[in-house]
Amino acid sequence: MGGTYTDAVFIHDNHIQRTAKVLTRSKDLVETIIEAFDRLNIPDEQSLNQITVSTTLVTNAILQNRIPPVQLLLFSGSGMRIDALPWPVSYLELSGEMDFRGREIEPPDQSEWGKLLTPNLHENPALVAVIGKFSHRNSLHEEQLSTYLRGINPSLSIALGHVWGQANFYRRSLTTYLNLSVSNLYHNFAQELQSAISARKIQAPISILKADGGIIPISKLRPIESIYSGPAASILAALTQKELTASSIVVDIGGTTTDIGLVLSGVPLLSSNGAQIGPYSTLVRTLAVRSIPVGGDSAIRATDHGFVLESYRLGPAYCLGGNIPTPTDAMRYLGLIDYGNERLAEEALASISMERRTPEFLHELATAIIDAVAEKIAVAVDSLKREWQEEPAYKVWEVLHPHEDRAFNTLVSGGGARGMTTALEKRLRTPVQLGVFPEVSNALGAAMARPTFDCTLHLDTYMKRYRVEETGEQGKWSGSLRPYLEVEGFLDTLAQQQAAIYAINIDDVEKDPFDFFPIVHGYKTVGQIIRGAVHLRSGVIGRIQV
């Protein structure tokens, strides 16, 4: 689902059977989805195995600021001043502090709760997010305040920060805030979509695509994780057209925006930071994608020395009935695409240069315009490669085994793709291939996506506590102080339990090597901190047969 169009694709046995494209009605996304679905004319709807949806519902609600406010309560503790970072929402700071091992430094002050909170919280419906610094190590204060608040008003919607179990108090707070704020909107959407599908007697489970390129059952999604699934879908679409182990640069050229991603030996690159959406920094895992404001419809403005490629669109290309020259006109003039009026394309180019209108010159100008688009794309590709190569390293082994530059190929898709292949091949110095069904690549990627799964354990055998990053689960460790095989089994069990909730098969899961940190008091080893994780990286269920 995009801002302007919504694509749909029907796939059977890795063969694309039908595709459809409808206008997105932003007021009624469920109806848009159903309309696209209907356009596919699927012969035997009831026998569908799987429906996957990638939606802009949450992304747009946040970016257009259509989300209800949440009362944000923070156990901010000492350390960096909280206002050193830009908070896009207001918050209330409460006393009570934990440290990095999850030890209580200062208990909360209950009399403060009474004074500060009670007046606001009798209203309905009220959304309250409670986040403590180091709550991912110990959720006690969050739980205590939650119990207290429920006592005041049982109908409050309360979200606690520790369920986003990664470090970063600031991002954890904003992630908890956003997820709670969009939850009503999402649940209404999910319910409506589920009933519309059920009404057609379709039993196929519905999944939603996440920012990390994985799918998850519609009822299990944490709504904020559905942001930016569009760019993720573009990258997955490329995976359906490549060998399993290829390394690719994926370029999806739209009308006004081009999305660029990297696939390394068959695995899309994950961003080392959480997603940024509008003014909000989050902990949402996302594929590393560069979105740059350039595309087939980018406006071209004449200047004294030639032309400028603007970062905005002023309607369609001149050759397609618009008022302003665009890269599409250049492509048409050079015969790289076959749609649009050839004479209008020439007129568009001529309008850039009043004096010289020889065919040689217009040819040169058109080439320069396309090269300018390729240049902008190449700059973004380089920046993405740099992000990958300069990923922070915290171990000797990692520094001694850096990411090696590998042979990339490039896959282009999207409306502007066809006219750009040659220019990109020249500029990126890689073989460039045009994707199949470039106009419905988003739907294709979503349809072929498989689940992702991560289970990251943090175990402190001295404190006898363990935590799971992805779920925020915190529990007591009763095993040995220096476990070895025991901790492997423990992580396996945790992962199996968690996977069962999402009905994910994790047989061929990838395991990170464990990090062992001996805890020493005096000169005696008294325990260990152990970090380990298993992953199911984003990928697709098969190759598309053409």
């Binding site: 960096m80 990095f100 970063n168 991002r171 300069e390 000797v396 082994w397 062992f516 020493v520």
Partner: protein
């Protein structure tokens, strides 16, 4: 925007031994604290990823004896820490950042001009490797190193003792009460660099107030007089009142203030082994101070409950120390060997103890007195119970032609006429050429 670079390299897979203070766990809680605070989300913070220093870069500052090859197996982590210092130093010199913090393990300031192994947890001297890199590659002339680790930065002092273009200042707990037992007021520099080394030993118990007083009234004026192009802070964190190996009484806030007063171009982590009680908070305070953020809200959980030496008690001590410092005059022994090129050669013998492995290094240092440059240095060094010597010949940056020639003559003699020498390094800083000689294998360029 004034940007602050951070290079965080905690070496989570490296230790000097299971329960050694320099172990995997050392920066684990610092990572927890920094990441939880969202330090990397501060718009002015830029994170850099580490790189490995080359042996060439290491040998520019230090001789690895008996040969670099002997050390290669144990150099991985030290070369990454040194390379990280170089990387961030280059970012500073290029103007990509206004200042930076090399938060890397292992430390380096006890590692000197000649290296036979690890001492005081250090194998390579990160600051020295950085400083000589910036001079060789960027032509930086005057650099000041201010060592605020609780231990005397004896390795750094050793490397730059004869160098008039590097001002070395070390504030530390009095060497009579703590490792390495040096850093007294009379150690003021070699004949060509007299007064370019300043040691300020402080009595155990000195706290924030006293420390800041010394900085403001002694260190900063000295820095200002030197007017360096670059200030590097060897930022050890073991002055903290919770440190298990020392007896000073500084707080995390106190460290923030040190950073604010010194305004270093680059801070480089040295020691500090209160890995839970101090490091997460001290590191945070240092970063905030570098980034121009308020650090006063940083608070370590444990309260300072030891008696702090009052400023009133410290002041007379400091006055006496300053008086001593002013009255000490250079007293050098002129002594040369038969084969030495012409000139006045100042001789000083030295003995260096390697605590990690428990052996002694015996050194005979000779420096050519020179009114034009830093002077050629000739060092004979041997490890206890080994009769064979390794030599370092250093032709300094900006060497005059006489000193340059003296260096070549010594190097020549070493290879062809010296019976008891086993190996050597020609550290030609003037032309950035590093040549290792070995009796068995001959010459090799690095």
């Amino acid at each position: 925007m004034k940007r602050t670079g951070i290079l965080f390299f905690p070496a989570f897979d490296w230790s000097l031994g299971d329960s050694h203070p320099e172990r995997e766990e050392r920066l684990l809680y610092t990572q927890e604290q920094l990441f939880e605070e969202g330090i990397l989300d501060l718009p002015q913070i830029k994170q850099y990823s580490p790189r490995v220093a080359s042996l060439h870069e290491g040998l520019r500052a230090q001789a690895l004896f008996p040969s670099p090859e002997v050390h290669t197996d144990s150099l991985d982590a030290p070369l990454i820490a040194a390379g990280s210092a170089i990387l961030l130093g280059e970012a500073r010199v290029r103007g990509d950042i206004a200042n930076g913090f090399v938060l890397a393990r292992p430390p380096g300031h006890h590692s000197g001009a000649t290296v036979w192994g690890n001492r005081g947890f250090c194998t390579l001297n990160n600051e020295a490797v950085l400083v000589n890199h910036l001079r060789a590659r960027f032509g930086i002339k005057k650099i000041a190193i201010v060592d605020t680790d609780v231990h005397h930065g004896d390795g750094t002092q050793d490397i730059f003792y004869h160098d008039p273009n590097v001002l070395f200042i070390s504030m530390h707990q009095d060497g009579r009460t703590i490792f390495p037992g040096s850093g007294f007021i009379n150690e003021k520099g070699g004949p060509n660099a007299w007064d370019q080394t300043l040691n300020i030993p402080l009595p155990p118990g000195t706290g924030d107030e006293g420390y800041h007083y010394v900085l403001e009234n002694w260190v900063l004026p000295r820095l200002q007089a030197f007017a360096p192009d670059l200030i590097i802070n060897s930022a050890g964190q073991d002055n903290h009142f919770t440190d298990p190996l020392a007896a000073m009484n500084l707080t995390a806030n106190g460290y923030g203030r040190i950073t604010e007063l010194l305004r270093p171009d680059l801070a480089v982590l040295e020691g500090g082994y209160s890995i839970e009680g101090a490091l997460p908070y001290v590191n945070l305070a240092i970063i905030l101070a570098l980034a121009g953020e308020d650090y006063h809200h940083v608070r370590e959980p444990k309260k300072l409950d030891r008696p702090v030496l009052s400023l009133a008690a410290l002041k007379p001590y400091l006055e006496e120390l300053k008086k001593q410092h002013q009255t000490i005059t250079p007293r050098f022994t002129i002594q040369s060997k038969a084969f030495f090129p012409k000139g006045n050669w100042i001789y000083s013998p030295r003995s260096v103890y390697y605590d990690t492995e428990g052996f002694q290094e015996t050194r005979h240092d000779y420096i050519r007195e020179c009114g034009h440059c830093a002077g050629t240095v000739y060092i004979e060094s041997s490890r206890s119970q080994s009769p064979q010597k390794s030599m370092l010949v250093r032709i300094p940056f900006h060497a005059c032609s006489d000193c340059e020639q003296a260096g070549y003559d010594l190097w020549e003699h070493l290879q062809h006429h010296s019976e008891d020498s086993k190996s050597g390094l020609l550290q030609n800083q003037l032309h950035d050429k590093l040549t290792v000689w070995n009796r068995k294998e001959g010459l090799k360029e690095f």
